[in-house]
Structures are given as structure tokens and as C-alpha cells.
């Protein structure tokens, strides 16, 4: 069932995105909205490389991870100077600016998107293979983040989120930690991008806009920010819910808006009924 496969794949992709975003915004307290751009960099790098060189998919995806990590360095450095709401908006400028670049240069396909990504694992087992790969990748990312955040490094990161000054005065290098969190989180987003590009074989700049920032953020907050399970649950709910609503037999002319109303109403309901997220108890640890 390709449908089931693609749904599971999307869940996996968004679990990676939400978990890695949670690492940055939830544990690290670094208010950025630019996460989709690293997803995009991973997707575009691996897609373009795959289309142009025919290198093995693994190599192209890893190159995507590397590019996403390298780009994250720029954002990590900006946190030296700016934080809080200002960081939020600087990251927005970073995201939209880079997207505009992708949009305007020719070799990415521009707004028309990139559709020449090679087909891998062609054949009836394709969906299943991708499900296995993506699930494994998601598990690896979640495990790595869980491991990190429950070890000494994670403790220092949470300390930094709670009080940067006190943390630094205890001998922790803030910028060092931020660079590493960004590298890990954005690298994971790049990995998600690579898998996404190879599976769907089509990417375009509009898929990585602010709307997606909002979606990943909603997954994290709805699930429970700063928790291990929260982003996973959030991604699951936000991917499955619209699909489930698709199974309701609504009048044709109302399909979109009615689904939208049901979906947004449920999200609002969750926000009010579970203020600390579906998982976890309090939003006290949240950024801001």
C-alpha cells in the first residue's frame, strides 16, 4: 500500500523534523523558525547531486546533511549577538532569504521545482524499503537526541536555556553548545530532507515556507515542548489527523474548508485542554 507507506514516511519525516526542532527550541531555548530551510537544504543538495552526478543515494543524502550542518553554523553564530524575539525574526529573514535564492537561481529549477531526482529502489517493494529506511532514521535521530539530552551535555544545554549567564559562569561555552545543538538538529533536518527528496522525487521552494515552520512548531508545542515523546506524538497527530479527516465523506464543495475547520478546531481544543502539550505536564520549561 503506497498510501500507507507514504503516510508512515511522512510521519517519520516529521518526527525527525519535530524532534530535531524541539532539540533547538525546546531544550536549547533558541527561538528560531528557520528549521524548514535546513530541511530544504538537505532535500535540494541531495536531489541536485543525485540528478547531476548519479552518485549513490546514500552519498547524496549525506552531502545534504553536511550542507545543512554547515549552513546551521551561520545561524548558530548569529545567536552570539541576538536572542529571543530578535533571533526569531532574524532566523525568519535567514529562511526566507535563502528560499528566495533557491527560487531565483536557475539550476534549482526555480519556482517550478526540481523534478529530475532519480528513482531509487524502483519496483513494488519501494514503499516498504523507504518505510524501513525512514523509520530507522527517525529512530536513530530520536535516540540520539534522547541520549544527548539525558546526559551531561543535555543537562548543560537545559541549564543554558534556563539561564545563559549562570551557565556560562559555571564554565560552559554557550557558543560551543549552540553550534553543536544547531549542527545536530539541522543535520537531522537535512537527513529528513534527503529522504523526502528521494522518496517524492519532487521538491519546490514553496514547500519550505513559513507555513511549514508553523506546522513543525505546532507539532512540538502541541505534543509537549522540551520532552522526548512530545514532538513524536505531535508529528503523529498532525500528520494523521488531516489524513483521517480525508476519510470523512464531506460534500465535494466543502471538502477543503470543512476539513480545515475540523482540523484547526481540534488543534485549538488540544491547546486549551492540554496546555502543557499532549505529553508532559507543564509548559514551564518552554522557551520564551
Amino acid at each position: 500500500m503506497e498510501y500507507l507507506a507514504s503516510t508512515i514516511l511522512l510521519i517519520g519525516i516529521f518526527v525527525i523534523l519535530a524532534a530535531s526542532y524541539n532539540l533547538i527550541i525546546g531544550y536549547g531555548g533558541l527561538n528560531t523558525v528557520a528549521h524548514p530551510i535546513f530541511f530544504a537544504l538537505g532535500a535540494y543538495t541531495s536531489g541536485l547531486l543525485g540528478a547531476a552526478t548519479g552518485l549513490p543515494a546514500v552519498v547524496c543524502v549525506l552531502a545534504g546533511v553536511a550542507v545543512a550542518m554547515a549552513a546551521s553554523f551561520v545561524l548558530a553564530i548569529t545567536t552570539l549577538r541576538i536572542s529571543g524575539d530578535y533571533l526569531l525574526i532574524a532566523s525568519l529573514g535567514f529562511q526566507l532569504g535563502l528560499l528566495q535564492l533557491v527560487n531565483n537561481v536557475e539550476f534549482t529549477g526555480g519556482p517550478a521545482g526540481l523534478s529530475s531526482i532519480p528513482d531509487t529502489f524502483a519496483g513494488p517493494g519501494r514503499g516498504a524499503i523507504y518505510v524501513v529506511i525512514c523509520t530507522a532514521a527517525a529512530a536513530l535521530v530520536v535516540w540520539a537526541i534522547w541520549r544527548t539530552m539525558n546526559g551531561p551535555f543535555g543537562r548543560a544545554v537545559r541549564a543554558m536555556r534556563d539561564d545563559e549567564l549562570a551557565c556560562a559562569a559555571l564554565g560552559r561555552s554557550l557558543i560551543g553548545m549552540k553550534i553543536r545543538i544547531f549542527a545536530l538538529g539541522c543535520g537531522a533536518a537535512g537527513l529528513a530532507g534527503g529522504i523526502y527528496a528521494y522518496y517524492f522525487q519532487y521538491i519546490s521552494p514553496e514547500q519550505f515556507q513559513v507555513a511549514q515552520s508553523a506546522e513543525i512548531l505546532t507539532m512540538v508545542v502541541l505534543g509537549g515542548i522540551g520532552t522526548t515523546l512530545g514532538p513524536i506524538v505531535g508529528a503523529l497527530v498532525l500528520v494523521v489527523l488531516p489524513q483521517a479527516i480525508n476519510f470523512l465523506h464531506l460534500p465535494n464543495g466543502l471538502v477543503g474548508p470543512a476539513q480545515g475547520i475540523i482540523f484547526t478546531a481540534l488543534v485549538i481544543l488540544f491547546l486549551f485542554l492540554r496546555p502543557g502539550g499532549l505529553v508532559g505536564t507543564a509548559g514551564a520549561g518552554a522557551a520564551h
Binding site: 529573514g93 512548531l217 502541541l222 477543503g256 470543512a258 484547526t264 491547546l271 496546555p275 522557551a287
Partner: protein, 316 residues
């Protein structure tokens, strides 16, 4: 190729066209300042305002003043309801900033879907025609709409300035925005200040979307696009500086209009985001003049803590 008349024309039309952008930016900046709230729900309120006016003036064939009155009434009611039943509840729970962010955003999406069901998705304008009579003044084309837009914006800005400067409620709002808890200790009702700022924002939003909707087609999804642009203006102006946000909104519009003479137009948006990113890196707390002034205010022992902030801003 660049004649003075062309520059003047770009300047004038740029100012006129950024009028609604200024109003929407100021509305966003006001709630950001007073309520410390990234109120994306303003997109939903804009939708309510526009379709209330559109319905009153087209389906009910009411005159313009009645349409605007109905639009204002509906928007203010919606703003107050939102404040009392949703945002107030979240605030009482000490919800994190991100929860507000998401709630207001999702609310606006909800409103867009609801308006889609009620009014469809065709781009509608308040009047059937978007044209307005033009006169040529000193080689510059000036339309009636331009004049109306600039006059409305100036009048509302002046009124807001006077309100914040001279009325008790206005000064209470400033006090609450400085420190809500401290203001409460002095017997100022933060709740009242929040509601009033919500009402003022609603008035600005209605005026803004009226100007937009007499000029271009509005669908239920347009307000969300508009509010995102307003956010950029509010931030470039510097969080907490309402009038500077308005100036930033105009400047952004003019920057884009003028830069087209020098760089290919498709790189305009990149320029905008580049400016946004670069300006924040260079001046992490807003532009330098304000920064020095702020620092002096924070450290200066002689400055009274509750100096009316907008007064200084208006002077800049």
C-alpha cells in the same frame, strides 16, 4: 533615466500604498508592546472586518458609513471576545509565548476556513471598481484613493498618539506595557489595558483592510499574508516602538519601490530579507540611535522610570 518626477512619483505612490501596511503594522506592534503578544489572530480579525463590510455594502447594499460601522462593530466585538475568552484564559494559565503564537495563528486559519464556507474564495473588493480618479500635480499622478489613504492613516496615527499621551487609559497602557505586575500594584487594571489595546488594534485593522479592500481583491487567505508582512515591519521598527514600526513599514515599502530602479525586480524580496537579517546582526536591538537612547534611559539615574515612551519615538 532617473528623473525627479519619477522619484517623486515612486515616493508618493509608495507612501500612499504603504498606508494600510502602516495601519496593520501599528496594530500588530501595539498588541506586541502592550500585551507582549504575537497576535497573529489579527489576520482573523481582518477577515472578519473585511467580510462584514463587504457583506453590508454589497449584499445588504448599505451606504459606506454604515458598512464601516458594521465592520468596526463586528471586529471590535470579535477582538474583545477573543481577549476575554481565549487569550485571557491562556494568560491566566501562564501559558508559554509559543502557545499564544500557535493559538493565534491557528485561530486565523480557522477564521479563514469559516469565511471560505460563508463567502467563498473569490477575490472580492469592497467596491466593484478598484479605479479612483487621478489628478496630475507637478507631474505626479495623485489619486483620490491615495489622498484618502494618507489622510486616514495620518488621522489615526495622530489620534493614537494623542490617546497614549493625554488620556489616563493611554498612560495606563504604557505603564502596563512597561511592567504589568508593577502597574497592577499601583492599581492599574492590566486586563482593561489589554482590552483597550485590542479595541484600538481592531480599529486600525478595520481601517487597514478597508483601504486594502478598496484597492485589491481580498480572499479569506489574504489577511494571513498581510499580517506576516506587518510582523516584519513591527520587528524592524524594534519591539515596543509603535510609531517606529509605522515608519519602518513605510521605509520597507519605499526601499522596495526605489530599489527596483537599480536591481532586477526579482531580487527584491531577497533584498528585503537580507536587510532584515543584516540589520539584526549589525544592530541586535534595533537601530543605533534608539539603542543609545535606550541604554541611557536604563542606566541614567535621573530619568524617571515611567517616561512616556511614544513621545520620544514620535520625535524621531
Amino acid at each position: 533615466m532617473i528623473e525627479p518626477a519619477i522619484l517623486l512619483q515612486i515616493l508618493w505612490t509608495g507612501i500612499a500604498m504603504s498606508s494600510y501596511f502602516v495601519l496593520l503594522t501599528v496594530a500588530f506592534a501595539l498588541t506586541l508592546k502592550v500585551e507582549k503578544l504575537w497576535n497573529f489572530a489579527q489576520a482573523g480579525l481582518m477577515g472578519v472586518a473585511f467580510f462584514a463590510m463587504f457583506y453590508a455594502m454589497n449584499a445588504l447594499a448599505l451606504p459606506t458609513w454604515a458598512g464601516i460601522a458594521i465592520g468596526l462593530g463586528a471586529t471590535i466585538a470579535a477582538a474583545v471576545a477573543l481577549e476575554v475568552w481565549a487569550i485571557g484564559v491562556l494568560r491566566a494559565r501562564n501559558s508559554g509565548g509559543l502557545t499564544f503564537f500557535i493559538f493565534t495563528l491557528v485561530f486565523s486559519q480557522f477564521a479563514a476556513y469559516a469565511l471560505t464556507i460563508l463567502f467563498g474564495t473569490e477575490p472580492e473588493t469592497i467596491y466593484p471598481s478598484v479605479m479612483s480618479p487621478v489628478r496630475i500635480l507637478g507631474g505626479v499622478a495623485v489619486s483620490d484613493w491615495d489622498l484618502l489613504a494618507v489622510a486616514t492613516t495620518l488621522a489615526l496615527m495622530a489620534a493614537l498618539w494623542a490617546f497614549l499621551r493625554f488620556t489616563r487609559d493611554g498612560q495606563f497602557m504604557i505603564a502596563v506595557s512597561d511592567n504589568a505586575k508593577l502597574a497592577e500594584i499601583y492599581g492599574i487594571s492590566a486586563k482593561r489595558a489589554y482590552v483597550i489595546s485590542g479595541v484600538i488594534a481592531a480599529i486600525f485593522l478595520t481601517a487597514g483592510i478597508f483601504l486594502y479592500g478598496t484597492r485589491a481583491g481580498v480572499t479569506p487567505d489574504v489577511p494571513l499574508v498581510l499580517v506576516l508582512t506587518a510582523v516584519i515591519g513591527a520587528l524592524l521598527g524594534g519591539i515596543g516602538r509603535i510609531f517606529a514600526a509605522g515608519v519602518a513599514a513605510v521605509s520597507l515599502g519605499l526601499l522596495q519601490s526605489f530599489s527596483i530602479l537599480f536591481i532586477p525586480s526579482k531580487w527584491q524580496a531577497l533584498l528585503l530579507y537580507g536587510v532584515l537579517f543584516g540589520a539584526l546582526i549589525l544592530f541586535p536591538r534595533g537601530l543605533p540611535a534608539w539603542r543609545i537612547w535606550r541604554l541611557r534611559r536604563r542606566l541614567g539615574p535621573a530619568t524617571p522610570p515611567a517616561a512616556p515612551e511614544p513621545l520620544t519615538e514620535a520625535g524621531e
